[in-house]
Symmetry: C2
Subunit: 473 residues, 2 copies
């Protein structure tokens, strides 16, 4: 990208931000070339080029002698209105077949990456991590080659105890257990807490691997709605009054797939409600660091005095999915979790833990996250504008305040599983709604993930997806 | 080690080998200095120095004007005679507390390493692996940072399919599933095959993590004896005729802790017996590559036509315990195993798989293993001689033809758990017998592991252990 291209793209983004913030409304006149050039301190030709780009994308339109106007169709999409409420009944999941197919597609790097939820290669700190990793292997070969302690490398546990403060959690390194990704922590937590046949409270929609995990553990799901505001404590109360529930798995910070954020006051209330009945809460916070607002939200674990919240997180959505390093804070279930970690795989890979500990210790994490949050936020805005341009008018999508995916409601006639297969044929990855519930639900929903890089190929991809939707509609 | 020291140590080893091979018997006269110097092509002073070293260790004794004689006490120890036969009843294990204490001691690098079973740092290919690892991170950063396919990196699976031929197994790469160590494969296999309350056939003694795994899965153990000849098919038949058994976990090649090898003809018979009743066999082959004879033994999997044998192995006992890379060949249980791998931790760490694939592809593995096998074999001989010198006469120990541990029977009065704690206080790691059975058994047995390096500190350690045994006796 040459210097000039960089400048007009930046202007283009600034205008997009104005549109997103609703400062400019559909039909509004945009500032004149001269005015904007003065305000932004760039040349008139740069502004002109940015306007032409936006016109090409259909975001703005020029009227002769009157300047540029925001297209009537541009701007925010309404959030999904007809969110199907899950039935409050225990259900066994059995979607493994479909989920394996989706997982294969998600792992396929030839597909446009609206399927897999993890940062684009360009945004991962490859060079720094490779350097730190190589240093660990070279400088401390014995430690890198040998088994780590079952609970994890001390250095990493110390760094994580420090970082936990950001999420409002005060723990010692000894209370932290390193896992091979957050999924392993969740699996260990469920195995520590439940036995086959038990009921487990989950959000609806919920990450499909949770459902697969419940199925593999012989557990039944009690689904409560996850709306734009996250989890409503009244739904939790209703469920625990009606059913004997052994544990809950919730994602209060930017639930996957709907990106909903549960407010801190609600978190506190949920911890209290579950605590009163002695129901342990497994909290998945893998998206907690990907917030678009001014600061990080707290975690349920930060309201937990009884040690009944098992906190799980990882570095898979932030710096290195493939390193498989996560952690859990199992509270009073620590002993059982440690025991289960031993028979899961003895310990998590040593050099991977050392590399990530160095990344945290040397202060790279915060800097990296600032960049990543900005990138994902920007891409999410671009994706929403693009959806608006290319999708049938009845399409609905919220705009989450964090996370890395958009939950899209297609017109009701469109079958999301058919749509998934058609998109895959067209070279585009996405996740179909029905895999996010144990019930027959979200049949016209899809999850589109944001990896933090927006480009012309993605714009074309969304156009293709829009055309597919029009055809099936 | 200067050149001269290297020479006499080599001579010392050659003499030790002669003793071990029983070519020289206790009481025999050793070759004269002049004769041996001629035979080995070294100076008389080198042979003299070797003899003096052996004399210092009490292996040989000099008689004035008559030369050197093998001490009456040197040479092989009798194998354990009073192997307690396990009772043929289903038992639930509940030794987690003791096992966690032992595991902590095994992980303690300040202790003399007779506890943990993995090669000494000096024998691990640290430099080569570090270089290959760094190359992978640098040359293919996107692949190294991202999720691997659930089933594993294609390149590694191809290399493993090639190596499987050595063990008599003919598979395609697509039949292989990468796991984070063999333990993960065993855990996945058991979860795929059983439900809580089921009976599982195991050897007695058995690796303590198996027992912990059975306990964590709510399974009951049926123990059949593991003698110097490994598993007797008649014991398998007796067990499966008497009990409803859901699965077997066996270690036909160098069972941990007793190092027993089950002959290939017996393996074939066991596969047939279990197959007739449709009982799946989980085969742990982590020690299969550490053989002291001319060639590798076959695996049960190589006799499996029905796909009912789930083969598990890893690189933890050969090149890199801390990388956590293993694999399984689940046969007809592949789909279920893949599903369970997903909810265990999505996939095994990518760069670790890439580094090990490169190690195999570039031909380092075979060269490394030749060196490692020789080193462990030599240390095992030295350890046995040392045991003989320092332990009470009633002590018994076999000499396995592979693996990396010696199973020692102390005089009957000695409580191995007390002994473990006393040895730990003296700075020496070891594993006490009772953790290797769900029954009250092996109370006077210990496992001493061989990491491939013998040195004066170890000699002193065995001396201390011998004194402890004498004191408790």
């Amino acid at each position: 990208m040459d210097h000039n291209e960089f400048r007009y793209r930046r202007v283009e983004k600034q205008i997009t931000t104005l549109i997103e913030s609703a400062a400019i409304k559909p039909g509004d006149r945009l500032p004149s070339l001269r005015k904007l050039s003065g305000q932004l301190g760039v040349s008139i030709s740069t502004v002109s080029q940015a306007y032409l780009e936006l016109e090409k994308k259909g975001v703005i339109a020029s009227r002769e002698r009157s300047g540029f106007f925001l297209s009537p169709s541009a701007g925010r999409m309404p959030a999904p209105a007809s969110r199907p409420r899950p039935a409050l009944v225990p259900t066994s999941s059995s979607r493994s077949g479909l989920i394996q197919k989706v997982l294969e597609a998600l792992g396929n790097r030839d597909l446009l990456p609206f399927g897999v939820v993890c940062p684009a290669d360009e945004l991962l700190p490859a060079k720094t991590l490779a350097r730190l990793f190589s240093n660990s292997l070279r400088n401390d070969p014995a430690r890198a080659l040998n088994y780590a302690p079952v609970a994890g490398e001390d250095d990493l546990r110390r760094q994580l105890a420090l970082r936990a403060l950001e999420a409002g959690i005060s723990v010692t390194p000894e209370e932290i257990l390193i896992t091979s990704g957050a999924m392993e922590g969740l699996a260990i937590a469920l195995r520590a807490l439940t036995k086959p046949g038990d009921n487990v409270l989950i959000q609806s929609p919920s990450y499909f691997c949770f459902l697969q995990l419940l199925e593999n553990c012989g557990l039944r799901a009690i689904e409560i709605p996850s709306s734009g505001d996250g989890i409503d404590p009244r739904d939790v109360r209703r469920a625990i009054e009606r059913f004997e529930i052994r544990a809950a798995i919730l994602v209060p910070n930017f639930n996957n797939p709907d990106g909903s954020l549960t407010a801190d006051t609600r978190k506190e209330e949920i911890v209290r409600l579950l605590g009163e009945r002695g129901i342990p809460l497994v909290e998945d916070d893998v998206y907690g660091e990907i917030y678009f607002g001014a600061e990080r939200s707290r975690c349920c674990k930060s309201f937990d005095d009884a040690g009944e919240v098992i906190y799980c997180s990882s570095f898979s959505k932030t710096i290195a999915p493939g390193y498989r390093v996560g952690w859990m804070i199992p509270g009073r279930h620590y002993g059982k979790a440690l025991d289960l970690k031993t028979t899961t795989n003895i310990c998590t890979a040593s050099p991977n833990q050392m590399a990530i500990a160095a990344f945290l210790r040397e202060g790279y994490f915060e800097r990296h996250m600032r960049r990543l949050r900005g990138a994902i936020h920007n891409q999410m805005k671009a994706l929403l504008l693009s959806l608006h341009r290319h999708f049938p008018a009845e399409t609905r999508a919220g705009f989450p305040s964090g996370g890395a995916a958009i939950w899209v409601e297609l017109p009701p006639d469109i079958d999301a599983v058919d749509y998934f297969f058609k998109a895959r044929e067209a070279g585009i990855g996405l996740a179909p709604g029905p895999i996010f519930s144990t019930q027959d639900k979200y049949n016209n929903f899809i999850r589109l993930s944001c990896n933090g890089i927006w480009n012309e190929k993605m714009e074309q991809g969304v156009k293709t997806l829009g055309r597919l939707a029009e055809e099936m509609y």
